[in-house]
Structures are given as structure tokens and as C-alpha cells.
């Protein structure tokens, strides 16, 4: 099998990977690098549990091939906390009880970070609209929206 070599900077660590070209970014993170924070809820870009930041933008890691991102900087949920200090969104999710089973949560957090960076969290309606790519079957949406509002308001 042909393998393609790429380099990824993931959460500040450099990884050189020799990959089957059909391997998705999500599988490269989970299966090859061993970072299982990003989840596979549908594997076809419909649920958002695999959301990560690639060069600062939120993407569905299941819908893109790893070899397309040679040299990219990737942030996953494992890279957010600073030691024992949680990222403000992680803390807001606790304070607002914005998760139940936790499976969609890494994707929600990364998506919310992307949303804040995009400057699209100016109202509740806007947050709901621009978080609509991240499903939560536990239905924690009211509290997810509240957590994002808290952080947006503090910024």
C-alpha cells in the first residue's frame, strides 16, 4: 500500500505520520496518534462530535483526509487546559451543567471556541444558529448556549 508522509502539529506536539491516503484526519488523531478526545458519532459530517480546530478554524475531522493537512496546526480537546487550569469554556460547561454523557462535548467545546473566534456569538439566536452543526442527543442545548454566552460575555 502506498503511504504518504505528513507532519502535523497537534496540541503543540509535532507528529510525522506515514499514512494510507484514505485515512481521515479523525482516524489519524484517534487511531494513529492516540488522541481519542475527538469522537466518531457518524463519520460523515452530520453530528459534529469530531470537531477540531485546524489552523484555528473549526472543521469536522471525519470529513477531511489527514494527507490534505500536511504542515497544519491542529487543536483537540486534550490541548485546551493549561495543566490543572481548564479553558474558560470547559469551566463554563461545568458551571452551566452543559453536558450529560459527554460524547458530543469535545466537539461542542471546539466548535464554541471556533465560534467565539469568528465573532459570531453576539446573541443567543446567533449562538444557536452557529452551533447547529453540533448535535447533542442528551439535549443539553439550553445549558450549552448559556455556557457559551457566559464566555462570550466575559470576553
Amino acid at each position: 500500500m502506498t503511504r504518504t508522509e505528513i507532519t502535523l502539529s497537534v496540541n503543540g506536539c509535532q507528529h510525522t505520520l506515514a499514512l494510507d491516503p484514505r485515512v481521515t484526519l479523525l482516524d489519524a488523531l484517534r487511531e494513529v496518534i492516540g488522541l481519542t478526545g475527538a469522537k466518531k458519532g457518524c463519520d460523515r459530517g452530520e453530528c459534529g462530535t469530531c470537531t477540531v480546530l485546524v489552523d484555528g478554524r473549526r472543521v469536522y475531522a471525519c470529513l477531511t483526509l489527514a494527507v490534505m493537512h500536511d504542515g497544519a496546526t491542529v487543536t483537540t480537546v486534550e490541548g485546551l487546559a493549561d495543566g490543572t487550569d481548564l479553558h474558560p469554556l470547559q469551566q463554563a460547561f461545568i458551571s452551566r451543567d452543559a453536558l450529560q454523557c459527554g460524547f458530543c462535548t469535545p466537539g461542542q467545546i471546539l466548535s464554541a471556541i471556533g465560534l467565539l473566534a469568528e465573532g459570531r456569538a453576539t446573541s443567543e439566536q446567533e449562538i444557536r444558529e452557529f452551533m447547529s452543526g453540533n448535535l447533542c442527543r442528551c439535549g443539553a442545548y439550553p445549558n450549552i448556549v448559556a455556557a457559551i454566552r457566559d464566555v462570550a460575555g466575559a470576553q
Binding site: 500500500m1 494510507d20 484514505r22 485515512v23 484517534r30 487511531e31 492516540g34 488522541l35 481519542t36 478526545g37 475527538a38 469522537k39 466518531k40 458519532g41 457518524c42 463519520d43 460523515r44 452530520e46 453530528c47 462530535t49 483537540t76 480537546v77 486534550e78 485546551l80 487546559a81 481548564l86 470547559q90 460547561f93 461545568i94 458551571s95 451543567d97 453536558l99 450529560q100 454523557c101 459527554g102 460524547f103 458530543c104 462535548t105 469535545p106 467545546i109 449562538i127 444557536r128 444558529e129 452551533m131 447547529s132 452543526g133 453540533n134 448535535l135 447533542c136 442527543r137 442528551c138 439535549g139 443539553a140 442545548y141 439550553p142 445549558n143 450549552i144 448556549v145
Partner: protein
Amino acid sequence: MTTQLFGQPVERREDPRLLRGEGRYVDDLGRSAAAAAFVRSPHAHARVLDVDVTGALNVDGLLAVYTFEDLPERVAQPLPLLIPHPALTHPRTQYALARDEINHVGEAVVMVVATDRYRAEDAAERVAVTYEPLAPVVGLEQSEAARTLVHADVPGNRGAHMVQQVGDAPAAIAAAPHRLDFRLDIERSASTPLEGRGVYARWDAQDDSLRVYSSTQTPTGVRAAIAAILELADAKVEVIAPDVGGGFGVKIMHPWPEEILVPWAARTLGREVKWTEDRREHFVAANHERAQEQHVSVGFDDEGRILGLDVTFLHDHGAYTPYGIIVPIITSTQLPGPYRLPAYRVEFSSLYTNTVAVTPYRGAGRPQGVFAMERTVDRIAAHLGLDRTEVRARNFVLPDEMPYDLGLIFQDGRPAIYDSGDFPESLRMLKELIDWDGFTAVRAAAAAEGRRLGIGLGCYVEGTGVGPYEGGHVHVETNGRVMVSTGLSTQGQGHETVFAQIVATELGVPMADVHVTTGDTRRFGYAVGTFASRAAVMSGNAIALAARSVRAKAVKVAADALEANPDDMEIVDGVVRVKGSPADAIPLRQVAVLSNPLRYSFSEEAKAATQFAAPADPDEPPIPRGEAPGLESRDYYSPIRSTFANGMHAVIVEVDPDTAEVKVLRYAVVHDCGNLINPRIVEGQIHGGVAQGVAGALYERMAYDEHGQLLNASFMDFLMPYATEVPRIETAHLQTPSPLNPLGIKGAGEAGVIPGAAAIAAAIEDAEGYPIMRMPLSPDDLFRLRREHAEEAAS
């Protein structure tokens, strides 16, 4: 001071782990395991003529291809019928791999195992199965007509038929001043947790033992099934539910074919094997629910008091009946809700179709029953021109009638007897919360702007905390850690938090000292599972009882050591002390040392428990008769019958006059689950339930075509609510404690979903001005209904 933690809205202790990406779900484990993939039937009803695996054999990394012919005798039997019932006269369960007949799209035919999932799927693609398609049976109408049979030996496609009655409903209806007859329909939906199913098995050849991680709601159930089918001793099978990414009912089903096949393959191949369900597989191979056609007859007086109710319904249970007829039994017995029905008759037929099997999804038959009952009450109100809340109030079972015996047999095989509740007070609270009486003005103000609003409500009673039992183990270690375990598993309900609150409160220790494990047969081997809103009631009470025993023992051991009277002792902040004399105190960790007489010391503290360290009565054994070493206790809670929670929802919707879109403007919930252990967690459970209730009313349906193909087997087409569809939810709690259990609690897990479809239907009906008789209702459905009613009005 130890805080009274029971009842406090403490933050969830599982959150930091999950938020850091440190959750461990099945697919996060076993990175080096071999991967399984399945070849599944593309036909809804077919005969398997030939399976040709030769094309797969040269795929790089292939380890094994298994068909039905490869299965050993015990694995080749039909999977267990989990809940037999006398009324289920024609039960059928599937084979782990299809033998000769396929009964729904998605049924597994071949299992492939390879070094990784990519290769396993490469190989699966190369397996050629030849089918002879048979005519499929899809939908209740076709099934009842029975021109085609799902199983050739099940006449009329009827798996079960059951009647329950109290009084003579047909006679009461015939004699009543008013009578209404109508039909209601509810379509299929499903749990669809974001984490699908998953199984990871490790066979230890040296130890002859098996460890299985499964995304399940019942690890002990899975263990019993695996041990029986793979013919292993229970003690040689460990089943662990790690973090589970949502269950909502579907994961109480067990053993799935994959839960048997993956461990079997691990043992056969002598290596770790993992299977992670993909999304399409979950839609076509994991179970669904809902789907009923109901025929209601009701007789009532001029005041709107129900005199007799007769409901006949058809229940679509899909291709197989592994979970028995629990869902339609729950519909039958929970249908009366908070109302006094002097005469009630309910009859159902549970029918086979060539679709995925039906087993509980959050609510488990209750949303359907509540839909029938609440639609009935609204029809009565409309018929008599009465306020809908007034008709409800006139029919309520009153607080002084508790305990109230429905005269029906509930899903646990025991009488359905309401133990608690104050329905008039709940209704008063709900009307206040949504401002029911002020809605006329709200509607008029909106109408003046050209907007169309409606209000509706739905009431329910929910049997929760069904038996037979759960257990709890509480162990104070000599380092002061309090280790707690219970056998049922967790799918996001915050059990680690609430069980720790219970133990901290009962035992008098800081919550930080309490460590909770759920769903691990290595820690607790006797359990039933997490379903029917039962975990807090069952395991919560079992753990509380165990903690109370530990407390009693701690006080006794400490009293002996301090030469004090046990009645004068208290435990505060992890220290056992004499009341009013804080100097006379021993930390619990030291009590733990003393409670285990030692020959060999292992630490400075442990020396105190050795044979020459402490004076003891030489004429008594070191461990008093009837007692055991260690500061620990195992206890069980086994209730006489279920406890009944209740609630009422009110909703205000806006319907678009042009596009027929329905928007939920306000959603109010009054909820009574007895004493609250943690209001934050209860609130979260309600939010989640309401989201699924709104979904069931407006968005979600399993769209099978006439060939039995599921047309919307993806999250793109099966419309789950996004952040944009779930409204802000206003809640109020009434707490009528259950007299049946020590903590006075009732279940809360399913509550939010139960009356959603009924309440939203009522609100749409109120906005539109004609009856809404089915759920879910898409804008397209509503648009057509509008046109039909406009045409009717015109003719």
C-alpha cells in the same frame, strides 16, 4: 462540618474528566485490537441462498470471515427471549448471524475480522451474498391485513394479544350521555445516542477468562448472556460499561448479536477484537420504538367526567420480540395517567413487520399512552366547550385517594398502585408557570400582528424504579477513601455525583473522599440495569442502606475503642466522635483499621489492629459472631412495587400561516419526582427529555418505504433537534416523597419526554382550530391537514 449534600445542586464530578477529553468510551479503548465489520442484508425480507467469501480471502490483513455455518452449536441458537409473557404467544428472536431467512434490512449475515477497520470493511465489501427476495411486510396496516407473513409460522403476523380491564367499559360508554370515537397514530422513532453500540473483547488464554467492554445499559445482563452462550463460568467473564455516550433505552437490549460474536471471535482467534457500530448500522440494526395505531372510545357526562374508556391499539414490534411486549404493556397500564377511570378496557395486538425490532426508547410506550389519554381529554373539553384544564381537574385522582390502585398489572408483573402525587397542585403550579389564564390576551396580541399562537398541555404519571432489585457496596478503606460501587451502568445521568452525595450525607464524610464505580461486574456482580427511570431509586436506596450499615458499624467499633456509648456518637467530616466532646474522636480511616483484626501490620496505623496492640476480651473471638472484617457493607434494595412519579407540561407554539412551520415559544414543566437528590441533574434530565419530546412531536420519524428500506438512515435525514430547535425550558418542582423507599425518591430519567407529543399536538390544535390526531407533524403534514380542513369547510 459535613454538609448535607443530599438535595444540593452540586456540580457533577464526572465533568472535568469528560471535558478534558479523558472520557473513555468503548471505541477509545483497544487501539491495537483487531476490528470486526459486518455484511448486512440490503433486503427487508429474503432467503439467503449462498454466501461466497472467496473474494474477501486475499484482502491484506484479513483474519477471519464467519458465516452462520461457522458458529458453534450454542452460538448458532436463536438469541434469548429476554422477557417471556403468557400473552406473547408467538415470540421470535434472531440468530447472531442470519441462518437462512432475513427479516429486516440491516440484519447481520457475515462477520469479518481484520487487523484494522479499513481492511475489515475492504473484505466485507468483497463478500458476495445471493438472496432470494421475499415480499416484505411494512407498516401496521399491511401487517394486520396479513396477506404476507413475516414469519411463515406466525399466523396473522400477531406475536401477542392482550386485554386488561377494570369495570365494564363498553357498557359504561354505551350508557354515557356523551360518546366520542376516534383514531390516533404515532410513528416510529429511535434512541439514536451519539455513541452507537460497541463491543471490545479480550480473551486471556492463560487464565481462560474473558473481559468485555460494551456500550450497554446492563453489564450484568450482558455477562449472563455471554457466559451462557459461550459456555463459560460467570466468574470467568467480566463485563464493563466504560463511559457510555448516551443510551436512552436502546442499550438495555442485550445481548446484541455483536455482543456474542465479538467475544466469541476473540476467544476463537486468541486476540483482542473490537467492533464499533457505524451510524448507518445503528439506524438499520439497532432497535427502534413508538409506532402505534390507536382506536379510542370514551363515554363521559355533561361535566366532562369520564365514565368509560376503551382503547384498542396495534403495536408494531418489528421483525423480532427479544424484549417481549414490555412497550405495549407500559402503554396499556400508563395510559390512564392522573385520571380516575371508573371503567377502562385496553386491548392490544403486537404485530410483526419486516423492520428493525422495537424495544424501549426513553419513555418506553408512555408517550404513546399519554398521547391517547391527553388527546381524549382535549376532545372531551372541545366537545363540551369546557376549559381543558378544568376537564382534567374534574377527572384527577386526588391526593387523599393515595395509594390509588389502577386495577392493572404493571410491567414488573405487580399491581399498578400510585403511591404519591398531588395532581391538583401540580396543575395549579403549571397554570401559574405558563400563565394559562393570561394566554387569551397573549394570543389576541399576537393575532393583531398576524401571528397564530396556540397553547396546550399534557399530564402523565410514570411508573419508575421497577424491580426486581439493585445493590450497593460501600467500603471505607484504611486510607480514608470511601469506595462505592453498584452494578448498573451510567450513560450520562450523573450517577457518580448523586451516589456520592447520598453516601457523603448518610455516612458523614466529605464528598471528595467518596469514589463511585458503576457498571463493572468486577466490582459488583449482581444488578439489573439502567432503564425505567430506576437508577436513583434502586441503586440510590441500596447504596444508602449500605452506607447506613457502615455507619452503624463505624459507630460501634469507635464506641468500643473510646469506651463510649454508641448512642452518643456522631460522624462529622469523616471523624467518629462523641457528641459534645470533640476530643473523644477517631477518624473513619482508623476505625477501618480497627474493624479488621490483623496478624500482620502494613503501616503505622495498622499496628493498632494487630493481636498484641489492643486489649481484647480473650473469651470472645476477634470478630464477633455474625459480623465480618472490614468497614464495609453490601446491601440491596428490592421494592414491593414501582413508585410513580408524575408531571405536567404546557407549551405555547406559533404556527406559520404560510409555511406551516411550528415554533415552540415557551415550554413549561412541573415535575414531581419526590425528594430531589440533585436539582441540577434532575433539571438536565428534564431538558434532555423535553428535547426528545419536541423531536417526537415535530421532527423524528423512521421513514420506511414499501420495500422496507429505511429512507432516512442518517442524521442528515432523520431530523434530530439542533440547538436551534430546543426551546428554553421553564421548570418547577413539586416534591411529594415516595413512601415506598427510604430516600423518598422517584425516578426522573424519562419524565421530560413523556407528554411532549401530547402537549405540542394540543397547542397546534389550539392554534389551528381542528383536531390533531397524529404525531409527529412536519410542516408538510400540517400544510396538508390545513388544506384538507379548508376543503372540508368549503364543501
